[in-house]
């Protein structure tokens, strides 16, 4: 009986292990293996964007924060873009991404934001924290499939698919903004001040300018020269009231530092922080931080035309 006990114990453990692995492989909630048939239901963009960059055919990549992640790349003509932007992206993450996934002759549209240089609210990350970027990628794929956490997401994804809930990210990398569009219709102007206060609290209450991140921008530039891909850098448009906020007394020095240093590194940088894409009506009413996806697509299209 004792030998049988050991055999049953090991067989049970191995069976569970293999069954979960097979289930995760076929559901593939982040489309890492390219088997995903139910759509990506999760906002874990970092993971998906990295696998998507491999699986989705493209010649250009959009990188930046959630503002850029809202842009529908299929609306941009003359180039085949994959939207690899993700929320709260930071320069070091974008550098690691570019280093791993961008090839010669590709075009990288890189959207920068002021918040990205606040090391207090967004502590500096190292490469180890971004496990999908690790060199031992295939070993990690194996870790991905045989994972209890992923089983939880596979089951949740399957349930969302069966109950016809919308996906979070489209195959071209664009975030599903239908929820934002609905919210926008219901929004009222008087909520603006409260939203701006919240925004300030999250992103700018304490600001520590990150010089290390400027170094990462320089590294991105060097990489583009070494590897031979084109880099089109722009500063995201700011809603007039958000612009006033970042130009307030306690932030102005840092904001100017951000503008000047970015322009030093990228002399051809397109500064959209104010100007034709920064009109009040181009932003969501319930969220003046994010411009609407169609504005973003127009802006990138402009950059494509300038490039040509």
């Amino acid at each position: 009986m004792k030998k049988i006990f050991l055999i049953i114990t090991f067989s049970t453990a191995v069976s569970i292990y293999i069954l979960v692995g097979i289930f995760n492989y076929y559901i593939d909630p982040f489309s890492v293996f390219g088997n995903n048939k139910i759509g990506v239901h999760f906002s874990s963009e970092r993971e998906y964007k990295m696998s998507g960059a491999i699986g989705y055919s493209h010649d250009s990549i959009l990188l930046g924060s959630s503002k850029v992640a809202n842009i529908n790349p299929s609306q941009i003509k003359d180039v085949k873009v994959f939207n690899a932007a993700f929320s709260a992206a930071t320069p070091e993450e974008m550098y690691f991404f570019i280093n791993e996934f961008v090839k010669k002759n590709e075009i990288v549209f890189l959207g920068l934001d002021f918040y990205m240089f606040n090391e207090f609210s967004f502590p500096l990350k190292n490469k180890e924290e971004m496990q999908f970027l690790n060199k031992s990628f295939y070993f990690l794929l194996y870790k991905y499939a045989f994972s209890l956490n992923l089983l939880k997401l596979s089951l949740r994804g399957l349930r969302r698919h069966l109950t016809n809930q919308p996906v979070s990210i489209f195959p071209n990398g664009q975030r599903n903004t239908s929820k934002d569009d609905t919210l926008d219709l219901e929004s009222r102007d008087e909520n603006y001040d409260r939203i701006l206060d919240k925004l300030k609290e999250i992103n700018f209450n304490k600001y520590k300018f990150s010089y290390s991140r400027l170094e990462y921008l320089k590294k991105i530039k060097m990489l583009s020269e070494e590897r031979g891909f084109r880099l089109v850098v722009f500063l995201n448009p700011l809603h007039p009231e958000v612009l006033n906020l970042v130009k307030s007394e306690d932030l102005l020095t840092f904001f100017e530092l951000f503008l000047n240093e970015s322009k030093k590194i990228f002399p051809n940088l397109a500064d959209f922080t104010q100007g034709k894409y920064s009109k009040r009506e181009y932003f969501y009413k319930h969220d003046p931080y994010h411009y609407k996806p169609e504005i973003g697509a127009r802006m990138i299209q402009d950059l494509v035309l300038q490039k040509n």
Partner: protein, 492 residues
């Protein structure tokens, strides 16, 4: 190398186990011990090869000094050798663990600016140094030492207990490194080993690591000067209370389980500490091997309870203060030790008064004492976990809602990927396991160390049901390896 890593479970351990059993069957069974020593040194070096030399030197120096001390005829020479051994061990641990802390404080007190970089703490240094100090003390007292270098090296380096305990006493394990005993390893040992390892792995990678998702961001927010809401603070301390228990007791279970595969019984280190009815009992259930070490090699040599009440309480405070400092070079650990010392003094005073005036324990005190003990323990964990004294105080303020204008049910510091309800559910599951289910030792070994607080009906048997249960636990544990973190006690 972590026990809960792919390389350990799928490569290192199977290779070591197969090698051990093959060598055990040869005409030279001592090779199996040598094989374990080599494997243990490899296990240690895998973390950082540069510290392997220090570890080997520490083992050889202690072995050599013990042999020299035992052979010495004159008492004064014996004493001298013992003092050299003690000074050597204390100097090594002081240099690596406490020098930076000491110099920082000296700089602050005397307004100096002595430059000294913080050193990397060699893995498991507190554990293997304490084991060897205990060994040296007993060698000096008893004039007997281990003659076989191989057995001595295995006693210190045996990989299941090497880097995070249990702190094994030489009298417990050295007799087990015996060829005739090794020959008679039975399948029962392997079954028990597998059960211990599976439960330990589950505790660490499923329970501790999941509940950590709720304590880590909240303590981190407090560290960055954020003020936690009332419920956030409670979620933080309860999560950490269960995290540290499942993390460390999980490691100890895995160590005991691994030892069993080689026919070695390591001492029990945790015995449902949160079921304790008072703080004295808590320390008989929590990190038992450290408590025994502190009692035998610090508290009793200081005089223990033999020199009057006041001296006894003083000795208790000193023992707990140094026990706190053993965990790390920081004032928070010192205060944590002092707080536990204070709890113990109060507990002993209460016992003394009851005995002196022949008072019966009041019913409501009997009922409330486990809850009160648990509350005292979790309050102390705040000091243990918070990285600065200020952040600990901020959490205490939030726990008692000193700021009446702050929100009660806000969970804004949890971050976007965790929900308070999920955190609550994990805390509930952990509490159920801690307070209702038997601990792994009761469950597997069917032995009771305390009369109360056991759940005697659930015991391990070699039946189909338990085979499936252990298999499921093991399977879930291995499936969680991909997201596991380091053990908390590695840093000590």
């Amino acid at each position: 190398m972590l026990f809960c890593s792919y390389e350990f479970i799928f490569l290192f351990f199977p290779i070591v186990l197969i090698g051990f059993y093959l060598l055990k069957k040869t005409n030279h069974p001592q090779w199996s011990l040598a094989w374990l020593v080599v494997a243990s040194f490899f296990f240690y070096g895998y973390w950082k090869w540069s510290f392997l030399g220090l570890f080997a030197f520490s083992c050889l120096a202690n072995y050599g000094l013990a042999v020299i001390g035992t052979k010495a005829i004159r008492h004064s020479i014996r004493t001298f050798v013992f003092l050299v051994a003690l000074a050597f061990n204390l100097a090594v641990i002081f240099y690596f663990k406490y020098s930076f802390f000491a110099l920082t404080n000296i700089n602050a007190i005397f307004n100096l600016s002595i430059q000294f970089d913080k050193l990397i703490l060699p893995l498991g240094i507190s554990f293997y140094t304490f084991q060897q100090i205990a060994y040296q003390v007993d060698v000096y007292r008893e004039r007997r030492c281990e003659r076989s270098l191989l057995r001595y090296l295995l006693f210190v380096s045996f990989f299941p207990q090497l880097i995070a305990g249990p702190i094994v006493h030489h009298k417990e394990v050295l007799p087990q490194f015996n060829f005739s005993k090794l020959k008679s390893i039975e399948i029962d040992d392997c079954i028990q080993g597998l059960a211990f390892f599976s439960i330990g792995l589950f505790k660490k990678v499923v329970l501790a690591d999941n509940v950590a998702h709720f304590s880590t961001p909240l303590f981190s927010a407090a560290l960055h000067g954020e003020s936690l809401a009332f419920m956030e603070a409670w979620l933080a301390v309860l999560s950490y209370t269960f995290q540290i228990y499942f993390d460390f007791s999980g490691y100890s279970d895995m160590a005991i389980g691994l030892g069993k595969f080689f026919g070695i019984t390591l001492p029990v280190n945790f015995y449902s500490p949160y079921k304790a009815h008072n703080v004295i009992e808590f320390w008989r259930r929590w990190h038992i091997t450290l408590s025994i070490f502190l009692r035998d090699y610090l508290y009793i040599p200081l005089g223990g309870s033999r020199r009057g009440k006041v001296r006894r309480y003083f000795n208790l405070m000193i023992t707990m203060l140094l026990g706190g400092l053993w965990h790390g070079a920081s004032w928070n650990f010192v205060f944590w030790g002092i707080l536990h010392g204070f709890y113990l003094v109060v507990n002993h005073l209460y016992k003394y008064v009851r005995k002196k005036f022949n008072l019966n324990e009041l019913f409501f005190i009997k009922i409330l004492s486990p809850t009160a003990t648990f509350l005292c323990v979790i309050m102390a964990w705040v000091l243990f976990r918070a990285e600065t004294f200020e952040s600990a105080m901020s959490i205490y303020r939030s726990l008692v809602m000193v700021k009446f204008d702050s929100p009660i049910f806000s969970f804004q510091h949890l971050g976007p990927f965790s929900s308070a309800s999920e955190g609550g559910a994990w805390v509930f599951v952990c509490a159920f396991i801690c307070f209702v289910l038997p601990n792994s030792y009761e469950f597997i070994m069917r032995q009771r160390l305390f009369d109360r607080g056991h759940s005697g009906r659930v015991i391990f048997k070699t039946t189909l049901l338990y085979a499936l249960l252990i298999g499921i636990i093991l399977g879930l544990g291995i499936l969680s390896l991909s997201t596991t973190g380091e053990f908390i006690y590695f840093q000590f």
